[in-house]
């Protein structure tokens, strides 16, 4: 089998390193970057990371299977992880974290004046199936104030550990139709058009099987051309 091809990220479809209005991006970006070859160390990565990282429940809305639900709109998010040729990435470790329905994180650094929710776990880990798919059960996160005149639109953080050093991905997923999407500094730091739109989940039509939950789906594309693929 031919080697997977990994190309550097293109500035045309990625957020810039420095984001106007986000001071830390200016003190935490190197002045220069060095081109590096892709060696075996970059082509490889840890497999079955669940041997190290504990995977718990994919339901973040309760602290025990029969416990009371967290407050806020119950939702299911159906994700799929694929490479750039639409090949599923099976066995990927997906880590998730987000604010509760009031816009508050479980983190000591979060100074937003909103209540915690004892039944909300704040996120967790899931592993993709053979088709690269996973589903999380959670409550829709609330917006929150992130600066003197800055608000974050509702969003969920995702970290993906795939199959190599090169296909590692950290991103955020937003929700369609949110008024604050127009003002979210990070969402709007992504290039307009396809890159920005690719950060917004799709709402799915209501169906009986979803019960009390609304449903969203999102496609995560990690770097790499392995060849083949079903998406053409």
């Amino acid at each position: 089998m031919a080697d997977t091809v990994y190309q550097p990220y293109a500035d045309s479809n990625q957020t810039p390193h420095r984001v106007e209005g986000y001071a830390r991006t200016f003190t935490r970006t190197p002045d220069s970057f060095v081109e590096r070859p892709v060696t075996l160390t970059e082509r490889t990565g840890p497999l079955a990371v669940e041997r190290r990282l504990a995977v718990g429940t994919a339901d973040f809305t309760r602290t025990s299977p029969d416990g009371p639900r967290a407050q806020g709109p119950l939702m299911l998010l159906h994700g799929r992880v694929v490479d750039e040729d639409n090949n599923p990435v099976a066995g990927a470790m997906v880590e998730v974290w987000h604010a509760n329905a009031s816009g508050k994180y479980i983190h000591e650094d979060d100074g937003f004046n909103a209540p915690l929710d004892a039944n909300f776990t704040g996120g967790g880990r899931v592993v993709t199936d053979a088709d690269g798919r996973f589903t999380i059960t959670t409550v829709k996160p609330g917006p929150y104030r992130a600066g003197p005149a800055s608000w974050r639109a509702p969003h969920i953080h995702f970290s993906i550990i795939g199959t190599s050093w090169m296909d590692r991905m950290v991103t955020q997923v937003h929700f369609p139709g949110e008024p604050l999407n127009d003002f979210d500094m990070l969402l709007n730091a992504a290039p307009d058009g396809t890159p920005r739109e690719s950060m917004i989940a799709h709402a799915l039509p209501p169906r009986v099987e979803a019960g009390d939950a609304s449903e969203f789906e999102h496609l995560f594309v990690v770097r790499g051309h392995a060849g083949g693929g079903s998406g053409g």
Binding site: N13, T15, R28, P30, R36, P46, E84, H157, G232
Partner: protein
């Protein structure tokens, strides 16, 4: 065909429980010890003006003590140490320090990898880092590394910054202790790779 998803910062609220302490110890896997020389790799993450970066996440990836990877891309994967995951994660403390206990990576010279000095890939994630920052930590003598394709890509003047220094004062539990400070920006900044 689709472009990769858009990278984003982990932000300031990455849950501390997703950077559990067990991720900093690569010297065992599920209770079975890895083979090789046990080392400590620690250092301080610094931003502009050498200010410590707390609440950052450092991740590492490395070959085993023989330079092998338990991964299908490595033709010698079958010989790799089954008790070595090669991956670790550490959140920086209030002064920007990270610390891993791991195995000294092996030197390797073959068709699959060219000549690689002992090395550990490292990435930084933090609030204000929109796309991960990647570098490589080398061990040994810079003069022996001219054939290493990654080291060779780095300008001569800054290659020395990619070498961990012996620092026995930092840890006496493992066999050897090394220090590798990461300076994100400024004069003498750590070489980072175009990713």
């Amino acid at each position: 065909m689709a472009d990769p998803s858009v990278w984003q910062t982990i932000g300031p609220f990455f849950p501390t429980r997703l950077a559990e302490a067990s991720c900093t110890d690569l010297t065992e896997l599920r209770g079975k010890p890895a083979s090789g020389t046990r080392i400590t790799l620690s250092g301080q993450v610094l931003e502009r003006d050498r200010q410590p970066v707390r609440n950052a996440v450092v991740e590492i990836w490395q070959p085993d003590s023989e330079g092998l990877f338990a991964h299908p891309a490595d033709p010698r994967a079958a010989s790799a140490d089954p008790h070595f995951l090669g991956w670790g994660r550490c959140a920086t403390d209030a002064n920007g320090w990270y610390r891993f206990r791991t195995i000294m990576p092996g030197r390797r010279a073959d068709n699959a990898s060219g000549v690689r000095l002992p090395h550990i890939n490292m990435m930084l994630l933090a609030s204000g880092i929109m796309r991960r920052l990647t570098t490589t930590v080398f061990f040994g003598d810079e003069r022996a590394g001219a054939d290493d394709p990654v080291l060779a890509a780095v300008p001569h003047a800054s290659r020395g910054r990619l070498f961990a220094r012996r620092a026995p004062e930092l840890d006496r539990v493992t066999d050897e202790a090394y220090c590798f400070d990461v300076l994100i920006q400024g004069d003498e900044e750590t070489p980072f790779f175009l990713d």
